[in-house]
């Protein structure tokens, strides 16, 4: 089948979908060009890289318009044709990919424009833009990949560019540590991902998405007893990139990177790659569940169900932690974790309905409003001279009206107030949960209450009340390059949910299951009133709770009211400390053993042993060489006699 596709593409010559190559390569060209030719020129670097990404955006838009809900295959080229494994580099465009292309290039363009203001005083300004372009290239590769191996390659490239960007201020130890932590944590997930790919390859004999999907559609039991393991291992990749429990620890630390990076990578796109990948390989999760012998007690429990549980747990955990954080970026980071948890939960639950478009829908809306929130936070941080503690802000509403209003819209969208986009996408998830798993629906509503609570707390403390520090006193509105991207982002935050994205996306999955969607204003209330009212009620309840506690508050009342619980929440449930104790001490133990092995067994016994043996026997044999011809004769004679004696027998 894939050969047929290749053949077809070769015959028909260049096609309009080959523009996708240009979308993919433009940011790479700019990144390389900037690094090689204009590593000092700030203006040119900015123009090139922003231009490259905007070009990608325009081309994505063209493809989006041309193909609409359809799908297309770009002319691929052979890369690794080995018997039994045919890996080619090819691009695949379907509604899922074309939507994601728009999100990635759109948010990236705005973030880059914003960065011209935010990073204005930075020495390594061109390097920043080149790294961002490299990231966009990698991310687009994930979006467009049409097989597992190519996806994995770009997956790792995203990891690298994330490492470069988190550690952008590498002279700061915290940033350097955070980048290492992010990279290593991701490596754990990627290892599982790779094993998963190997299992899928060995079971299905192909790494091509379309072929694998067709094979599984023909025979859903093809994966046999490895279905569950393969699903979970592939999910491990998503667990790393999308920071799901227990690999969630790197994301809050990644906030050490510059704020535009947090907005683009650690809120809107890279962390969404995990969700996107799960949607891309969704056909694995709708296959018949199966477990190998030792895990057979899991029975009919599918990998998807476990995934939804992990997602729900992450969502709840992160939301609880966010309630007691004081750093504006950390609150947003945990909120991102929590929303990603909801999306993962939706993917898991979607397996029953054979449609994960609720997760993708939330991914799209979340990408826009969370990017906006992060950029807003960046604007606040910029204005307050890099003060990030919300208790040292206050009263910023009057000083920064643009930032305030856009931040408020973002908060409303995140909290899930109608008519903002977050309401509709969350409602999709809640409706799905209500139909498939009422307990997870309850968790979702609880998360929603907490989300509204901590976001209202953030807004009430940072923007209202009186200024509580000198740096907040001198705050003033950010420059235009930072202001206008925020304003532009309000449009999708408001409206993206009004587009019929659900039916559009379901083309990618199963057209037989149409999705009900808030494509009109009150759609959710008609479609599943219980979910909609609960979602709306949760937002209102969370807000009123926050209002009663934080309106004109000068310090956080919760630590005294909750006592120990608040402390635990503030310390992120001690996950970092637990990991440090367990893994660091285990790691130290292993390194000591390895050191001992190296020092005494490898170096001592083997290396020094062999050389010592040779040396000693050499010294011993040297004594035989007397130089006296008569002793030689004697030995020679004895030797001959021995030979004769032995030969006789």
């Amino acid at each position: 089948m894939e050969h047929a596709a290749v053949q077809h593409a070769v015959e028909s010559g260049s096609k309009i979908q080959d523009l996708a190559w240009m979308i993919l390569v433009a940011p790479l060209v700019m990144a390389v060009g900037t690094t090689l030719f204009v590593p000092r020129d700030r203006t040119l670097a900015a123009i090139f890289n922003i231009g490259g990404v905007i070009l990608s955006f325009c081309l994505s838009f063209v493809l989006f318009c041309v193909f609409g809900g359809g799908s297309a295959q770009c002319t691929p080229f052979e890369w690794l044709p080995i018997a039994g494994l045919d890996v080619h580099i090819g691009l695949h465009i379907d509604p899922l990919a074309s939507l994601m292309l728009l999100v990635v290039t759109g948010v990236a363009s705005l973030v880059m424009i914003y960065s011209t203001g935010y990073m204005h005083d930075d020495r390594s300004y061109p390097r920043f833009f080149a790294s961002l372009s490299l990231f966009v290239f990698s991310m687009l590769g994930i979006v467009l990949a049409d097989n597992f191996v190519m996806l994995f390659i770009f997956w790792e490239l995203v990891g690298i560019s994330s490492y470069l960007l988190i550690g952008f201020w590498y002279a700061r130890p915290a940033a350097a540590d955070a980048s290492k932590k992010a990279f290593l944590t991701n490596r754990i997930g990627d290892f599982g991902f790779m094993l998963g790919i190997l299992i899928v390859w060995s079971a299905l004999g192909t790494v091509d998405f379309a072929v694998a999907k067709a094979k599984l559609a023909e025979n859903p039991t093809l994966l046999g007893s490895m279905a569950g393991i393969a699903g979970l291992l592939i999910f491990m990749g998503a667990m790393g990139k999308s920071a799901q429990f227990p690999l969630h620890v790197w994301l809050p630390d990644a906030m050490e990177g510059p704020t535009p990076v947090s907005a683009l990578i650690h809120a809107a796109t890279m962390v969404a790659a995990g969700i996107y990948m799960l949607c891309r390989v969704f056909f694995l999760y709708t296959a018949a569940p199966g477990w190998p012998g030792p895990l057979s007690m899991l029975g009919d429990l599918s990998a998807a169900t476990l995934i939804s549980l992990v997602g729900a747990f992450t969502a709840l955990l992160a939301a609880l932690i966010a309630v007691q954080q004081n750093d504006i970026k950390r609150i947003l980071a945990f909120s991102t974790l929590s929303q990603l948890g909801l999306m993962v939960m939706a993917v898991g639950l979607g397996a029953k309905a054979a449609n994960p478009s609720a997760a993708m829908f939330h991914l799209v809306t979340h990408a826009f409003f969370k990017a906006m929130l992060f950029l807003g936070a960046g604007s606040v941080i910029h204005a307050c001279h890099h003060e990030q503690d919300i208790w040292k802000m206050g009263g910023l509403k009057a000083k920064m009206p643009f930032t305030f209003w856009t931040f408020l819209i973002g908060t409303a969208a995140l909290a899930g107030l109608p008519p903002f986009s977050g309401f509709y996408s969350k409602d999709e998830i809640f409706a799905l949960a209500l139909e498939t798993n009422p307990i997870l629906f309850g968790v979702g509503i609880l998360v929603s209450v907490l989300t509204t609570f901590y976001m209202s707390r953030l807004v009430l403390v940072a923007f209202f009340g009186s200024t509580r520090s000198e740096s907040a006193d001198h705050a003033h509105e950010s420059p235009g390059s930072m202001k206008w991207p925020l304003v532009v982002l309000t449009v999708p935050s408001l409206m993206v949910a009004w587009l019929p994205l659900g039916p559009f996306l379901s083309e990618s999955f199963d057209p037989a299951h149409p999705v009900h969607l808030g494509d009109i204003f009150f759609g959710p209330f008609n479609h599943n009133p219980i979910a909609a009212f609960f979602g709306f009620g949760a937002a209102l309840f969370g807000f009123s709770l926050a209002y009663s506690l934080y309106w004109k508050a000068t310090k956080d009342p919760l630590p005294t009211q909750l006592g120990l619980l608040s402390k635990v929440m503030r310390n992120r449930f001690y996950f970092d400390e637990i990991y440090e104790t367990i893994f660091i001490s285990l790691h130290n133990l292993f390194s000591h053993i390895a050191d001992w092995m190296d020092r005494w067994v490898i170096s001592g016994l083997v290396v020094r042993g062999v050389s010592g043996l040779v040396d000693i026997s050499g010294r011993a044999l040297r004594l035989v060489q007397t130089g006296n011809i008569q002793s030689y004769t004697f030995f020679f004679t004895v030797g001959v006699l021995l030979v004769v004696l032995l030969a006789r027998k």
């Binding site: 040297r622 060489q625 007397t626 130089g627 006296n628 011809i629 008569q630 004769t633 004697f634």
Partner: protein
């Protein structure tokens, strides 16, 4: 008493052992050289004895060659010993141990 092959071989073996003993324990190069000649002739003796025993002249032909070559070898060997003596003022083997390590 009937002299057979055995007797020749015993004499040959004794001659060879005496020659070898001379080579191994004597110090003077000339005497060692004489020991060597003795061993050579012990071999010649057994060759002739075998030749006779097998009624085959090949062994005797071989001995002729050996004697010829040995004559040349003695000339070369003695010349070497004389040259060595002139150079080192000694013909004792324990003084000639520079070929070690």
């Amino acid at each position: 008493m009937n002299v057979g092959l055995q007797h020749y071989l015993i004499v040959s073996g004794l001659l060879f052992s005496i020659g070898l003993l001379g080579v191994v324990i004597r110090r003077n190069l000339i005497v060692i050289f004489m020991g060597l000649e003795l061993m050579l002739n012990a071999a010649n003796l057994s060759l002739v004895a075998f030749s006779r025993y097998n009624s085959n002249l090949d062994g005797q032909v071989m001995v002729f060659f050996t004697i010829t070559v040995a004559a040349a070898e003695v000339a070369v060997g003695l010349a070497l010993i004389v040259a060595l003596y002139r150079k080192r003022q000694t013909a004792h083997v324990e003084d000639l141990i520079t070929l070690k390590f």
